[in-house]
């Protein structure tokens, strides 16, 4: 390690192959993470792709700096309906080395919005204020006040005050907040603050070290593969670690995760603040030679639009004028009378980050401006023009292609009515976030509420990617305060884990029960039921513990929270080796196979997962000496009843409904064959539409549609459906696991009787109103029965060409009767359904409401 704390490069022969915690990226999130981890006594390795640059030797807005400190030399485009310029730092200290140092706290409205939309836990303004206080003290965040404002600031303020619009001086993390962000040593960037602090606490920093991929073994991240560049020399390193924190920024963090095969909700939710610029010519000399920046922001149109100043240099001005250079080049003669300004909007669309396989640095950032964005930018430009003319501007030059210079506020105001065409806008952005949102909403979030990546217990994100949505203000403050909060949670959680006793070694060795599909809602409830019914401290049915197969990207935290006896094996039904690992040592155990694909991305997945996956599983189970296998099938192998009063029983012939039904027929046949040939005890459970606590967010839509009067009733609504409340179904599964009579048998498990569609909808409506006081509109979307047949025909045609559309599939079933009798299970297993529709719906709706789902 050098004196600066920098660990030795490959040329120097040093080789830190291991660390307790690796932090990737040394920007706002990474530097803070490394410092706090090191101060807590962790052995930290901070890996930074960019170079270490001495802040006093380079002005960070010079062309030399742009080439050295910015990713791709400042040339990272965001592709979309109009391409946008995007820049980010790529050096020790990350974007904090090249930014303007403006500091904001997270506005109050974001707390409530983020909690509601992303189901973010423990995210309270009071607690966050404490984190902001601490960081602000470290970074000397302060205001300069009007007495020290520069010429540009004064002129800008004059314009805003003339219009009597709201504005504020934005604090900055500067030793002297009135100084240029580019005066060497002024800005309290990470290289000036948290990085030295991390190094003082023992962290090792390696610059020029790009992490290319995470190394994942057995469902844990065990290290990283990195490329180290030292001058012309490069070396590939594998560095092992117990913990990995990704802080590569909102573009590179999702890119690294996706390159490593981790994709669930990763890079799908990118938010940005698109920005349009203007140069203004004033009578007064602007004294803008020192890269000064106006310190005020207009809040009159916030949160949609923010208006403020931009860094000035003759080069930046020329770049703005380059959109119409032939017409506007003459303005350069008055460069010392000019200032640069911007209007930014909180982008309302979602962009994406993708990696191109096999292409080095092939990170594609996409964002399509929507109509609202276009409108807001047009309004923003109009308002900016008004301010500049009120401040005394003689001409305003927009970053707009094919527009002449504006000479009056009225000309700018025309954009209040008519949008600026997209083809004319030259936009840029420096604020990107939300590409790996944190929270508990399974449809949107890539990490839990504290940055832990879903499906991993030692991989964390701690940078701007986590912000669930646009904060509407400059994001560095929020990024750092959230990173600090997450670390506190991490420390508490680690302490908790250290204090609590180790998981029973029995559960790792010889499990009593194996479960596939355990991360699903039925699986989670079933695992809970194992432990609810086990006498405390007993060595009954689950004496050896429960082992769950957890596919990549699934969050197993609800399972591990059930009991210490629950262990997890990562794997996939399509991967026989992982299934062998899952079944290893499970001699004499019972396997419950719940996993399967119902609504696939591709029709081929039915065969791959439901049929071939089950074949793999049975093989692994047989070889491991598993005693009994209980397999979850469905109503689909038997299709639809011939008329409304008909009930299926276990002897009804196969009449599979589409691809899913065919796959379940094939699966059932495999199970029957396995009992006959391999001697495994098998039981097949057929369950229809099930409902109850833990249901996924998409099922909540069912309640929302009923409440809003938009639930489709096809025909007269008297067609009947069997339904299975989740605890009735668990009762049936528990009996199938234990009763000797069950071996080799198939059972329908459902509520006692089927319900008509009208009864189902009426009951939900009644429960919402009378039990929970939620008013319903009492409407129905009444459609002819033929709509169901039409949807079925479309579904059939789509599936023929390998496509699957969930809504069409569901609509196709809506005019059918799918009803079964549970008499055999009652007679042979003693099955006695405890819940009927109303009681079950009360529990389901209560669970939704208690778990933050909105109906």
């Amino acid at each position: 390690m050098s004196e600066s704390g920098e660990a030795a490069g490959p040329g120097a022969g040093g080789h830190p192959l291991k660390a307790q915690a690796i932090v990737v990226g040394s920007g706002a999130g990474g530097a803070l993470t490394a410092a706090h981890l090191a101060e807590r006594g962790y052995d930290v390795l901070l890996l930074e792709e960019g170079p270490r640059v001495d802040a006093t030797s380079i002005r960070s807005n010079s062309t030399e700096a742009i080439s050295r400190l910015y990713r791709n030399g400042g040339m990272t485009p965001i592709l979309g309906n109009l391409n946008m310029a995007y820049v980010e730092g790529r050096c020790v200290g990350g974007s904090t080395e090249v930014n303007s140092g403006f500091w904001h706290r997270l506005p109050a409205d974001s707390y409530y919005r983020w909690k509601a939309d992303y189901l973010l836990d423990e995210f309270e303004p009071d607690a966050m204020d404490g984190y902001f206080d601490g960081i602000e003290a470290e970074l000397s965040v302060s205001r300069s006040g009007t007495d020290k404002e520069g010429r540009g600031s004064a002129v800008f303020r004059r314009g805003i005050e003339k219009l009597a619009w709201k504005y504020e001086e934005v604090p900055r993390c500067m030793k002297d907040p009135s100084a240029s962000a580019f005066s060497p040593g002024q800005k309290q960037s990470m290289a000036q603050t948290y990085i030295p602090r991390a190094i003082r606490a023992g962290a090792r920093l390696i610059s020029g070290c790009k992490v290319r991929r995470l190394v994942v073994e057995g469902g844990r991240v065990v290290g990283v593969d990195a490329l180290l560049t030292d001058g012309a020399e490069t070396a590939e390193w594998r560095i092992r670690a117990e913990l990995v924190f990704l802080c590569c920024g909102a573009v590179q963090t999702p890119a690294l995760l996706r390159r490593s095969g981790i994709k669930k909700n990763v890079g799908d939710n990118l938010r940005i603040h698109p920005m349009i610029k203007a140069g203004a010519l004033f009578e007064d000399e602007m004294e803008t030679r020192d890269a000064a920046i106006p310190i005020y922001q207009v809040k009159e149109f916030w949160p949609t639009i923010t208006i403020g100043g931009s860094v000035f240099s003759p080069g930046f001005l020329a770049m703005l004028l380059s959109d119409n250079w032939t017409a506007h080049a003459g303005a350069m003669d008055s460069w010392h009378h000019m200032g640069l300004f911007h209007a930014a909007t909180r982008g309302l669309n979602r962009g994406s980050i993708r990696v191109l396989p096999g292409v080095q640095d092939g990170v594609v950032v996409r964002y399509r401006l929507n109509r609202a964005d276009q409108r807001n930018l047009s309004i923003g430009f109009a308002r900016l023009g008004e301010i500049l003319f009120a401040a005394g501007a003689k001409a305003v030059y927009g970053s707009l292609r094919s527009f002449p210079a504006f000479t009056s506020a009225d000309q700018c105001r025309s954009f209040l009515k008519a949008d600026i065409p997209l083809s004319s806008m030259s936009l840029s952005t420096v604020h990107v976030f939300s590409s790996c949102p944190m929270g508990e909403n399974p449809d949107l979030c890539a990490t839990d509420s504290f940055g832990r990546v879903i499906g991993f217990d030692n991989l964390y994100v701690n940078d701007a990617s986590l912000l669930p949505d646009s904060p509407g203000v400059n994001p560095q403050g929020t990024t750092m305060a959230i990173a600090r909060r997450n670390l506190d949670y991490f420390f508490e959680d680690s302490d908790r884990r250290r204090r609590s006793p180790q998981r029973s070694p029995r559960s790792e060795g010889r499990p009593s029960i194996l479960v596939t599909g355990a991360t699903g809602w039925l699986g989670t409830r079933l695992v809970e039921r194992f432990y609810d019914e086990e006498p405390k401290g007993g060595s009954g049915r689950i004496g050896g513990g429960v082992r769950c197969l957890v596919p990549h990207g699934m969050d197993p935290s609800k399972l591990t929270a059930v009991d210490e006896g629950v262990s997890l094996t990562p794997g996939d039904l399509r991967d026989l080796d992982s299934l062998r690992a899952f079944c290893k040592g499970a001699e004499d155990s019972t396997l419950v196979h719940l996993a399967g694909v119902i609504h696939p991305g591709r029709v081929a997945e039915f065969e791959e997962v439901n049929v071939e996956g089950t074949r793999n599983l049975l093989l692994a189970a047989r070889d491991a000496g598993v005693r009994r296998v209980v397999v979850m099938s469905s109503n689909s192998p038997i299709g639809c009843n011939p008329h409304r009063d008909h009930l299926f029983d276990e002897d009804s012939p196969y009449q599979p409904y589409m691809g899913y039904g065919r796959s379940k027929v094939a699966m059932e046949k495999l199970v029957i064959e396995c009992q006959a040939v391999d001697g495994l005890e098998t039981v097949i459970i057929r369950a229809p539409w099930f409902y109850g606590p833990h249901q996924p967010a998409r099922q909540t839509q069912f309640f929302q549609m009923i409440r809003a009067g938009r639930f489709p009733i096809l025909g007269d609504g008297r067609q009947r459906r069997s339904m299975a409340y989740v605890d009735n179904l668990c009762d049936g599964l528990l009996l199938a696991m234990t009763r000797a009579e069950a071996v080799g048998r198939t059972y329908w498990i459902a509520d006692e009787r089927p319900y008509s569609m009208n009864e189902i909808v009426d009951t939900v409506e009644d429960v919402l109103e009378s039990e929970f006081g939620i008013a319903c509109s009492h409407g129905r979307m009444r459609l002819p029965s033929a709509v169901g047949d039409l949807a079925q025909a479309v579904d059939w045609s789509l599936q023929k060409v390998g496509l699957y559309e969930q809504r069409i599939h569901v609509l196709g079933e809506m005019n059918k009767t799918i009803a079964c009798s549970v008499e055999r299970a009652k007679a042979e297993l003693g099955y006695a359904p405890r819940f009927e529709l109303r009681g079950g719906m009360i529990e389901s709706i209560r669970w939704c409401l208690e778990n933050g789902q909105h109906i």
Binding site: N61, S62, T63, S67, N72, G73, G74, M75, T76, P77, N83, R289, S313, P314, G315, F316, L317, A318, M319, L321, S322, D323, W325, T326, A329, M332, D333, W335, H336, L356, V359, Q360, D361, G362, V363, V364, R401, S423, S426
Partner: protein, 126 residues
């Protein structure tokens, strides 16, 4: 070819001594080239193709490569590309022009010249 385009795009003002201008031009060309090199790999390739297309179309239009055209033709041809009705040719010129102007006006020699012009304007009798 990029050098030629850059040369055409860098303004005559402020006035620089010939040696200074050569130094500035070469630094600007170096910067623009490094920016094109810096593009993400999946964009650098289309960009190189665009440069080739730029050269090829000049041959088709004028029967000569861009570099051997006289300055007025070069300017007209460049103007044609920067006003093209579809985006990619415009973006091609825009990127080179933007980078060239940034590098030119923020070059220390140019800034110094601009400041001395200002000083001269402020004291016209000196």
């Amino acid at each position: 070819m990029v050098d030629e385009i850059v040369q055409l795009l860098t303004p005559d003002d402020p006035v620089l001594a010939p040696a200074e201008r050569t130094r500035v031009q070469s630094s600007v060309s170096g910067f623009v080239a490094s920016q094109v090199e810096g593009l993400p790999s999946f964009m650098a390739m289309p960009y190189r193709l665009a440069i080739s297309a730029f050269g090829l179309m000049s041959v088709l239009r004028y029967g000569r490569g861009f570099c051997s055209l006289e300055d007025s033709r070069k300017r007209a041809y460049l103007a044609l590309w920067s006003e093209f009705p579809i985006g990619p040719p415009r973006d091609f010129v825009k990127l080179i022009r933007g980078c060239a102007l940034l590098a030119f006006f923020d070059h220390p020699d140019v800034t110094r010249a601009m400041l001395s012009e200002l000083a001269a304007e402020a004291s016209p009798h000196v």
